[in-house]
C-alpha cells in the first residue's frame, strides 16, 4: 500500500515538474520572442522598453511584440484545451476542433464575410462571422445529438459531416469569388498572428478564459468519463450534460482562438496527445499541462516563423505542423506503453 502511495506521489511529482518546466518554457520562449524583430530594438532595449512608458521602442514592444506573444499563448492554450475536451468527452483520440468541423465552419464564416462583405468591409465582420459560424456548427452537433442521443458515435459522425458541409460551402464561395477574394481567402486559411492587437486580445481572452474554471471543475467527471458512459453514470456523472455543455464550451474557446487569427491547425489534435504521453489521463493535470504545451508550440512556431526568413513571415499555421509533427513522432516512437 505504501508502495502505491509512493508511486502516486512520485508520478504526481513528475507531472508537477513537467508543468513547471512548461511554464518556464513559455516564459523562456516569450523572452526570446520579445527581443526578436526587424527593427533595431534589440535584446537589451526591448527589456528596458518594457518598463519605460514612452518612445518608439516602448511602442514596438508594448503594441506590436507583446500582444503577439500574448495572443500566441492564448491561441495555443485555447486550441489545446478545446482539443483535450473534445477528445475526452467523445473518448476519441482523433477528435479536435478540426475533425469536428468547428474550424471549417469558422472558416466558412470568414469566407462568407470576405465574398459578400463588400461595402461593409471590416476585419470585425470577418472575425464576428467566423465566431458565429463556429457556434452554429456546435449547435448543429448538439441538435443532432439531442434528437439521436448524445452517444460518442453520433456526435463524432455529426461533426465530421458538418466539417464536410462547411468545407464544401467555403469551396463554393471560393469558386464564386473573384481573383482578389480568392487571394484573401487563401491567406485567411494560413492563419496569422500579425493581425492582432490588444483590442482583439481582450475579446479573444474573454471567450477563451471564461470557460476554463468550468472545465477545471469537471476534471474528475472527465476522468470518470474515460471509463465509459455506463461507469461514469453509475458514479453520478451527468454524462449528457457534460457532453453537451462540453461541446459548447470547447467550441466557444475554439471560436475565440481562431476568429481573429485564421486557421492554425494541428495544435488542438497534437497537444493533448503529447501531454497524455507524459502526464497520463488525469484531467486535473492534463487540462493545464495540455494548455501549456499548446502555448509553447504556437509561441515557438510563431517566433520561428517570423525570424527564420525575416522580414518575410512563414505563416504560423504552416510552422505549427512543421515543429509539432516531428516532435509528436519522436514521442510516439519513444513511448513503449499504450497511453490512450
Amino acid at each position: 500500500m505504501e508502495d502505491i502511495c509512493q508511486q502516486y506521489k512520485s508520478f504526481t511529482g513528475k507531472k508537477v515538474t513537467f508543468m513547471i518546466l512548461l511554464t518556464v518554457a513559455v516564459f523562456g520562449v516569450a523572452l526570446i520572442a520579445i527581443s526578436q524583430g526587424p527593427s533595431s530594438v534589440g535584446f537589451k532595449d526591448s527589456f528596458a522598453a518594457l518598463f519605460r512608458d514612452a518612445g518608439l521602442a516602448h511602442a514596438i514592444v508594448w503594441k506590436l511584440r507583446f500582444p503577439r506573444i500574448v495572443m500566441a499563448v492564448l491561441v495555443g492554450c485555447g486550441l489545446a484545451l478545446a482539443g483535450t475536451v473534445f477528445q475526452s468527452i467523445l473518448r476519441n483520440p482523433l477528435a479536435s476542433p478540426y475533425t469536428l468541423g468547428i474550424a471549417a465552419s469558422a472558416g466558412f464564416g470568414a469566407v462568407m464575410a470576405i465574398v459578400f462583405g463588400a461595402g461593409l468591409y471590416s476585419e470585425y465582420l470577418i472575425a464576428g462571422n467566423a465566431f458565429f459560424f463556429a457556434l452554429v456548427s456546435s449547435l448543429l452537433i448538439l441538435g443532432i445529438a439531442r434528437l439521436k442521443g448524445s452517444t460518442v458515435e453520433t456526435m463524432v459522425l455529426a461533426g465530421i459531416a458538418i466539417m464536410f458541409l462547411f468545407s464544401s460551402l467555403s469551396s463554393l464561395l471560393q469558386y464564386m469569388g473573384t481573383m482578389e477574394e480568392v487571394h484573401e481567402i487563401v491567406f485567411w486559411f494560413f492563419g496569422s498572428l500579425s493581425k492582432v492587437g490588444w483590442k482583439e486580445i481582450g475579446i479573444a481572452s474573454a471567450m477563451i478564459l471564461v470557460p476554463i474554471p468550468i472545465l477545471w471543475k469537471w476534471s474528475w467527471d472527465l476522468n470518470l468519463l474515460a471509463a465509459g458512459d455506463e461507469s461514469a453514470k453509475a458514479l453520478g456523472v451527468n454524462v449528457t450534460r457534460i457532453r453537451m455543455l462540453g461541446v459548447v464550451l470547447a467550441s466557444l474557446i475554439t471560436a475565440g482562438a481562431i476568429c481573429f487569427t485564421g486557421v492554425i491547425g494541428f495544435i488542438g489534435l497534437v497537444s493533448p496527445h503529447i501531454t497524455r504521453m507524459v502526464v497520463g489521463g488525469d484531467h486535473r493535470f492534463l487540462l493545464p499541462a495540455s494548455a501549456l504545451v499548446g502555448a509553447v508550440l504556437v509561441l515557438t512556431a510563431d517566433t520561428l516563423g517570423r525570424t527564420l526568413w525575416a522580414p518575410q513571415v512563414i505563416p504560423v499555421g504552416i510552422v505549427t505542423s512543421f515543429i509539432g509533427v516531428p516532435f509528436f513522432f519522436y514521442l510516439l516512437m519513444k513511448k513503449t506503453r499504450e497511453y490512450w
Binding site: 524583430g37 526587424p38 527593427s39 533595431s40 518608439l56 511602442a59 514596438i60 503594441k63 506590436l64 511584440r65 500582444p67 503577439r68 470576405i114 463588400a118 461595402g119 461593409l120 468591409y121 471590416s122 476585419e123 469558386y175 464564386m176 469569388g177 473573384t178 481573383m179 482578389e180 477574394e181 480568392v182 487571394h183 484573401e184 491567406f187 485567411w188 494560413f190 496569422s192 500579425s194 493581425k195 492587437g197 490588444w198 517570423r306 525575416a310 522580414p311 518575410q312 513571415v313 512563414i314 505563416p315
Partner: protein
C-alpha cells in the same frame, strides 16, 4: 524492335496526315490560319476569322470591349453578373461558370471558335476537354503591365481588330511614356509599403503591385523579397518607415459605388493600427487606398498614374488620373465614367486637412 519501328512510323505518318489535313481543310474552306504565342509561351494555331468567343476572364472581356468585339462574345464567366452596371451589354450573355472552373459542357454547347482563359486558370484540363470539340483554347492574362501591350496586339490579330488594338496600345503607350518622362526629372524615389488584399501581406517582385510601384517612381520596401505575396510583421513596416502606404482592396464592383465610406474606413483602420502613428506615411497622411478595379489588370495604367501623382505630386500637378480613367471608360469601353476607386482623392498638403 521491328514492331516498335512500325508503330513509331505509323504514329509519325498519322501526325503528318493530321497536320496536312488540317492545313488542307483550312485552305479548302478559304480560311487563313495564324500562329500566335499566348501567355504560357506556347504557340497556338488559329483559323481566321474568329466569330464566336467564350471569355472566362473579366480582364480579357474588358480588352475585347475596348477592341469593339463584344458582339462576338457568346459566353462569359458567371462573376460578371455581380457588376451588371459595368457590363450593361454583356451581363445577359450565357454564363459558363467561374474563371477557375467553367462548365465545359456549356462551352461545348455554345461551340465557340476560341475560349480565352488566364495562363494558369483554369487548369490544363480545359485543353483536354475542349480541343476534341474543335475549340481552340487561348490563354492571355491582361493583368501584367509588362505583357499587356503584347497581349492586346495578339488579341487584335486574332479578332481582326488590329486598328482598334493599335489605338488602345497607342493610348496606353502615350500615358506610359508621359509617366516615364516626368519620372526622369524627379529626385529620388519615396519608400513605399504596398499592402495587398490581405492585411499584412505585401507585394514583392513578381507581383503586379511591385511592377506598378516601380513604374510610378516609388521604391517598394519589399523589393528585396523572394516571393510575390509574403506575409510581413507590422514591426517591419515600422522599421522601414515608408513615406507612403498603398492599400489595394479586394472590394469589387467599385463602378457601381457612390459612397466613399468603405474606402475611407479601410484607410482609417490602417492609420489606427497599433504603433503605426510612428510611421512617416501615417504622420504625413500619405496613406492611400486603391480599388482592385484599377490595381493591376487592363486599367493598371490608371492605377499607376494615381501612384505616380501620390509619389511625386509636384511633377504630376497638371495630371488628373480621374480624367484619364474617364477617357478610358468613355472612349474605349463606351460606358459612362462613374464609381469610387481611390481614397483620398487629393494629395494631402498638411495633416490637418485629413482630419
Amino acid at each position: 524492335m521491328r514492331e516498335y519501328v512500325v508503330k513509331a512510323g505509323a504514329s509519325i505518318l498519322f501526325f503528318c496526315l493530321l497536320v496536312s489535313g488540317y492545313g488542307i481543310i483550312a485552305q479548302a474552306t478559304g480560311r487563313e490560319t495564324i500562329s500566335i504565342e499566348d501567355a504560357t509561351g506556347r504557340s497556338v494555331e488559329i483559323i481566321l476569322p474568329v466569330r464566336r468567343l467564350v471569355v472566362l476572364t473579366s480582364d480579357a472581356l474588358e480588352v475585347i470591349r475596348a477592341l469593339k468585339a463584344e458582339d462576338l462574345v457568346l459566353g462569359v464567366n458567371t462573376g460578371i453578373a455581380r457588376d451588371p452596371r459595368f457590363w450593361p451589354m454583356l451581363k445577359n450573355r450565357q454564363r459558363v461558370g467561374s474563371w477557375m472552373e467553367p462548365s465545359y459542357e456549356l462551352i461545348a454547347e455554345l461551340n465557340p471558335d476560341i475560349v480565352i482563359g488566364y495562363a494558369r486558370h483554369p487548369s490544363q484540363d480545359m485543353e483536354k476537354k475542349l480541343i476534341p470539340f474543335g475549340i481552340t483554347v487561348i490563354r492571355l492574362d491582361f493583368y501584367k503591365m509588362r505583357t499587356l501591350l503584347k497581349e492586346v496586339r495578339t488579341l487584335g490579330r486574332i479578332l481582326g481588330k488590329e486598328e482598334e488594338a493599335r489605338q488602345l496600345t497607342t493610348w496606353y503607350r502615350k500615358n506610359l511614356n508621359l509617366t516615364e518622362e516626368r519620372m526622369r526629372d524627379t529626385d529620388g524615389r519615396p519608400l513605399v509599403y504596398i499592402e495587398s488584399y490581405s492585411k499584412y501581406h505585401t507585394t514583392g517582385p513578381g507581383s503586379g503591385g511591385h511592377e506598378m510601384c516601380a513604374l510610378a517612381g516609388g521604391h517598394n520596401i519589399a523589393s528585396g523579397f523572394s516571393i510575390p505575396y509574403p506575409e510581413i510583421t507590422p514591426e517591419w513596416v515600422l522599421a522601414e518607415n515608408p513615406h507612403i502606404i498603398i492599400k489595394a482592396t479586394s472590394l469589387s464592383c467599385c463602378y457601381a459605388m457612390t459612397d466613399l465610406q468603405p474606402l475611407k474606413s479601410i484607410r482609417d483602420n490602417i492609420i489606427a493600427r497599433p504603433a503605426w502613428d510612428n510611421i512617416r506615411a501615417v504622420q504625413g497622411g500619405k496613406v492611400y487606398v486603391m480599388a482592385g478595379d484599377i490595381w493591376t489588370g487592363p486599367r493598371a495604367i490608371i492605377g499607376a498614374t494615381y501612384l505616380a501623382k501620390w509619389f511625386h505630386p509636384d511633377f504630376f500637378e497638371d495630371i488628373d488620373p480621374a480624367n484619364l480613367h474617364k477617357e478610358y471608360l468613355e472612349r474605349f469601353q463606351r460606358i459612362k465614367y462613374q464609381g469610387v476607386y481611390v481614397y483620398p482623392r487629393k494629395v494631402p498638403k498638411v495633416i490637418s486637412e485629413l482630419k
